[in-house]
């Protein structure tokens, strides 16, 4: 017998007996009795039983007699008699004697419901949640990747499944926090603290099981995934699944240049940003005590490869940071500092319109960033960066010039494109692999309405995740799945101190867009991304840091030992 039915039966019996009071001395015996039974059942269902709690039960049920009198005698009975609108003080005074009848009913009911509850407990055993045993999940959803796509999928699934104990959600991530990449350049530029842009996955997700680790293999036939174990020799952990979400993201693509990969800084993770920031400070420290102008120049030259969003934002942030801390190094001058952005095409920011790209180039150049357009990076070595049209003496090279989907995907027996991204249909399902899904930077997603490939951006990954969660939920319930369609809302790029470019798509006219630049666009950038940053606490921390930045210089404290690089 279910708990509700058991309690309702007890309430029915107790109210049925106690209702004799209403039948005998109530002014409307039948209606009162019926209402008393309904109220009694409701009370018994809502109040979990406790052994021998007679006085509590009597007092609680007796106290409920007061509002029940109001509802029954002042509202319900007059309404049944067609006099609902006539409720007044006179009615209440007339009905006052019935108040005591309802209290008497409540007291009797409280006594009887406890008596019946104790009796049922004695005969059929106690009603406990433990009797049912903890529900064991029978279906497992496994999400690989803790980026925007993976975390949003988990969040959406939590919302849709609403704590369904028969379904478990597990998320495997190499880090234990989501990296809010739009603000990564601000960490490298010492504008924000690293943890401010990384909400912990365990805090953000309510009941998803978060596993920190790297995926070593995926067995699609037997539906299991192996993640690396703790320690070098430890066996990997095996995770089984019914639905697998590939949201492994992308890694830097050095185009086969091993020397560049060895000597350049990557710019994909929080640790990369922390390293870059500390490295810049290290270069300033060394340059400050260096007397050779050539070596000083090399130390103070920072080369960023790639003129996309990541490269431009990083160059802008580094330019601001470097100039900000320059004042603390009395032996160094502004002329010695060089931030160089190398880009293989004729214009930066291909994601934005040409007009905005020109604006960005002009503004950044005015602020001291040097651009080398139509120039390819061909090699790099200690203290030297080789370009297609010459070389630069520099101790710092940061690579943002290209990415490829996670290499693990190429090892799987599924269809991928030439970059290694998983090909999915418009429902985000991997072809011919039921229960296998892919989204985000590691997937080739085709818009169901336009038929065009979706760009690998966070904006699209989040929307893909929402559709994917809906489809997985539908699959679990045997409902038809839906297709993915999303029109880009636009793009925003901050290029330096209080300066940004923004291109916002016109609603219902997707081929057109509004363009903003300068302070207004910068305000939009900060406002929009602050809203998008997950977690109120993070928002407040970032807002505080941005406010403090208006009054105090950026921090130039070194926080990590760079020898580990």
């Amino acid at each position: 017998m279910s708990r509700i039915l058991r309690r309702a039966s007890i309430g029915l019996v107790a109210a049925g007996i106690a209702g004799v009071v209403l039948l005998k001395i109530g002014p409307q015996p039948i209606a009162g009795y019926a209402f008393g039974i309904v109220a009694g059942i409701g009370y018994a269902v809502c109040m979990p039983p406790r052994k021998h709690a007679y006085v509590d039960s009597v007092m609680a049920a007796g106290s409920f007699g007061f509002p029940l009198w109001g509802i029954a005698n002042i509202v319900l009975f007059p309404a049944l008699a067609g006099r609902f609108m006539e409720a007044g003080f006179a009615t209440m005074q007339e009905q006052l004697p019935d108040l005591f009848v309802w209290i008497l009913f409540g007291v009797f009911f409280g006594l009887l419901v406890q008596l019946c509850g104790d009796g049922v407990d004695a005969i059929w055993g106690k009603e406990t949640l433990e009797n049912a045993g903890p529900p064991v999940p029978s279906r497992h959803i496994l999400i690989l990747g803790g980026g925007f796509a993976g975390m949003k999928t988990a969040e959406e699934l939590e919302e849709r499944l609403a704590g369904d104990p028969s379904v478990s959600i597990t998320l495997v991530s190499e880090t234990n926090a989501l990296l809010f990449t739009p603000m990564l350049a601000e960490v490298a530029g010492s504008s924000l603290e690293p943890s401010h842009i990384s909400p912990p996955l365990r805090t953000s997700l309510s009941y998803t099981h978060v596993v920190r680790g790297s995926v070593t293999s995926v067995d699609l036939e037997h539906r299991r995934v192996v993640i690396d174990g703790i320690g070098h020799d430890a066996p990997g952990d095996e995770l089984k699944y019914d639905h697998l979400v590939l949201a492994l993201g992308a890694v830097s693509n050095y185009l086969g240049m091993a020397t560049v990969e060895k000597s350049a800084f990557n710019f994909k993770t929080l640790l990369d940003a922390i390293r870059i920031r500390n490295h810049v400070i290290e270069m300033f420290e060394r340059a400050d005590k260096e007397s050779d102008p050539g070596i000083r120049s090399r130390l103070l030259t920072f080369v960023v490869a790639g003129g996309g969003f990541a490269g431009v934002e990083l160059a802008g942030a580094l330019n601001d940071f470097a100039h900000s801390i320059l004042a603390d190094y009395r032996n160094l001058t502004n002329d010695e500092l060089q931030i160089i952005l190398v880009h293989s095409r004729d214009r930066i920011l291909p994601e934005l319109s040409e007009e905005l790209a020109r604006y960005a180039l002009k503004k950044m150049a005015e602020r001291g960033v040097i651009f080398r357009l139509n120039t390819r990076l061909t090699d790099a070595g200690p203290g030297k960066v080789i370009l297609s049209d010459g070389s630069i003496s520099a101790d710092t090279l940061i690579w943002t010039a290209g990415t490829i989907p996670n290499p693990l995907l190429k090892k799987l027996p599924i269809e991928t494109d030439k970059r290694g991204a998983v090909v999915v249909d418009t429902t985000l399902a991997v072809l011919d692999r039921p229960g296998l899904w892919a989204i985000g930077d590691c997937a080739v997603v085709t818009d169901a309405r336009t038929g065009k490939a979706c760009p690998p951006t966070a904006q699209f990954a989040i929307r893909e995740a929402a559709v994917l969660a809906r489809n997985i939920h539908a699959s679990l319930e045997g409902r038809p799945v839906g297709s993915f369609h999303f029109d880009s809302l636009g793009a925003l790029c901050v290029i330096g101190h209080q300066t940004a470019c923004a291109e916002i798509t016109v609603p219902f006219a997707r081929s057109k867009s509004f363009r903003f630049s300068g302070l207004l666009a910068w305000g939009m950038w900060r406002g929009i991304y602050l809203m998008k940053l997950p977690g109120l606490e993070r928002k407040l921390r970032v807002l505080t840091a941005w406010t403090l930045e208006l009054f105090f210089p950026r921090d130039s404290v070194q926080t990590i030992d760079l020898s580990e690089r």
Binding site: K24, I25, P27, Y43, C46, M47, P48, P49, R50, A53, Y54, V55, D56, S57, M59, A60, G62, S63, F64, F66, P67, W69, G70, I71, I74, V75, F84, M85, A87, G88, F89, T91, M92, Q93, E94, L96, P97, D98, L99, F100, V101, I103, L104, V107, E158, A162, G163, T203, S206, Y207, L536, E537, L540
Partner: protein, 457 residues
């Protein structure tokens, strides 16, 4: 030992009861001894602190008085009831005062004191300084709400029954003195029962209701050396002071919880060792969010009664405008519920109990006080005003219950989704905890809160 103590205190109380009511001493002794033995036999395990004992004592005395009315009426009149019985009940009002003051109060407090000593190992530690300072601050801060009327010199709700003062300065000082005394004694009595803002508000109202009986009806006449007058007619004259006491109790409870818990918030809950999955900021926002939804649903459910009782046209003549305003206010009060009652209830039944109480309190604070204050600039706490507004109290009760039901459903849904366990208050509340005085508080506050306006109106 409890039986002996209950018997002796009850006996003494019964004697005083007879003295006050000018009734037969033997009857008084019999009633007093019976009450003391009843309490010692059935309720003493609930009297784990002086505050818990007091509430159980008062509610038991009140319940026995109500059952006495029904029993006698049932035996005498059988099926037909009308105004004569109201008259009978008004005639029995002095007995209610006597039962509360002479029996419920002393028996509850003394057996509660003994219970506190008995449970000293399992109860939270008691700190005198904290109780008096937090209670005193809360009392004075709450007393300030009457500052406007006090400065106007014509209204001192906590001093009703003390007669005229020679100067306004003495009156204001006396008012704050009484407020301080109520606040400090509240802290002493209820320190161990304070867990959340909402429940503390309930204790505050319960305690100041008792203060209305104990002050204007008992102590103040004794101080003035005038005969005690516990008639319903005299109590009607003091009805404005009752509303004042209830509002004072509302604010006292919330203020005390704030003062008492502030150091807990700042120095204990901020300790990483005590960290909860949900931080205070997010917790407040979530409570407000649920409160908005719950308040809206409560507003929808109560709107037919509000229309029927004339509350909505009273605000705006246009029905649609009135309904919109009603829903808006409902949402605001729902947010208030969310802030006060988060994690107070361990199950829906307990939640509805607090919801009834919250709805009734808002009847006193809203239509009785704030609404006339905002619309006319004056308040009207006369029994006639209460009589006019009383039918809408039913709407407020429905509002409170539905708001609590929806709020608790959302709270439970979140809890089950996140797998997070509600705070320790669930252990302190109602049926899951044998020591909780919550049902007794509902009986006392709900009962008197509804009965007194009908009886004295």
């Amino acid at each position: 030992m409890n039986l002996v103590l209950g018997f002796c205190v009850g006996l003494a109380g019964g004697a005083i009861r007879s003295l006050c009511l000018h009734a037969s001493l033997s009857d008084g002794l019999l009633i007093g001894a019976g009450f003391g033995i009843f309490f010692a036999l059935f309720l003493v395990t609930r009297a784990t602190s002086p505050g818990a004992g007091l509430i159980w004592g008062l509610s038991a005395a009140f319940l026995l008085w109500t059952l006495q009315q029904t029993g006698e009426s049932f035996l005498r009149i059988s099926a037909q009831y009308s105004l004569p019985m109201l008259h009978d009940i008004r005639q029995r009002f002095p007995e209610l005062v006597a039962d509360l003051i002479c029996l419920g109060l002393p028996v509850g407090v003394l057996l509660g004191l003994r219970g506190a000593g008995r449970n000293v190992d399992i109860s939270p530690p008691f700190r005198w300084g904290r109780a008096v300072v937090a209670g005193g601050f809360a009392g004075v801060a709450s007393g300030l709400i009457f500052g406007y009327w006090m400065l106007a010199g014509d209204f001192f709700p906590l001093l009703a029954g003390l007669g005229d003062f020679r100067s306004q300065t003495i009156a204001v000082a006396s008012q704050f003195g009484v407020a301080l005394a109520i606040g400090a004694t509240f802290g002493l009595l209820f320190q161990r029962d304070v867990h959340g803002y909402g429940s503390c508000m309930g204790w505050g109202v319960g305690y100041t209701m008792l203060c209305w009986f104990a002050g204007p009806l008992f102590l103040f006449p004794l101080l003035r050396h005038i005969p005690l007058d516990w008639s319903a007619e005299h109590a009607s004259e003091l009805f404005g002071a009752l509303v004042g006491h209830i509002l004072y109790g509302l604010i006292l409870g919330v203020s005390y919880a704030t003062f008492d818990r502030i150091w807990v918030r700042l120095f204990i809950q901020s300790d990483p060792l005590n960290r909860k999955p949900e931080g205070p900021g997010l917790r407040i926002l979530r409570s407000l969010q649920w409160g908005i939804a719950a308040g809206f649903m409560g507003g929808v459910a109560s709107s037919p009664v509000m229309v029927a009782t004339g509350m909505i046209p009273r605000v705006h003549h246009a029905l649609v405008e009135g309904l919109v305003l009603h829903l808006l206010v409902s949402v605001l009060i729902g947010m208030n519920f969310g802030l006060l009652f988060r994690d107070e209830a361990s199950n829906i039944g307990v939640g509805i109990g607090w919801g009834w109480l919250f709805g009734l309190m808002w009847w006193y604070a809203g239509p009785m006080t704030l609404l006339p204050l905002l619309t006319t600039g004056e308040i009207d706490w006369r029994p006639s005003a209460a009589a006019r507004l009383l039918p809408s109290a039913v709407g407020h009760l429905i509002y409170g219950a539905v708001t609590a039901l929806v709020f608790l459903s959302m709270e439970r849904r979140f809890s089950s989704r996140s797998g997070r366990v509600l705070r320790a208050w669930r252990l302190q509340t109602n049926t899951s905890n044998p020591f909780s005085p919550a049902p007794a508080l509902w009986m006392f506050v709900l009962g008197l809160g509804i009965l007194l306006p009908v009886l004295l109106g």
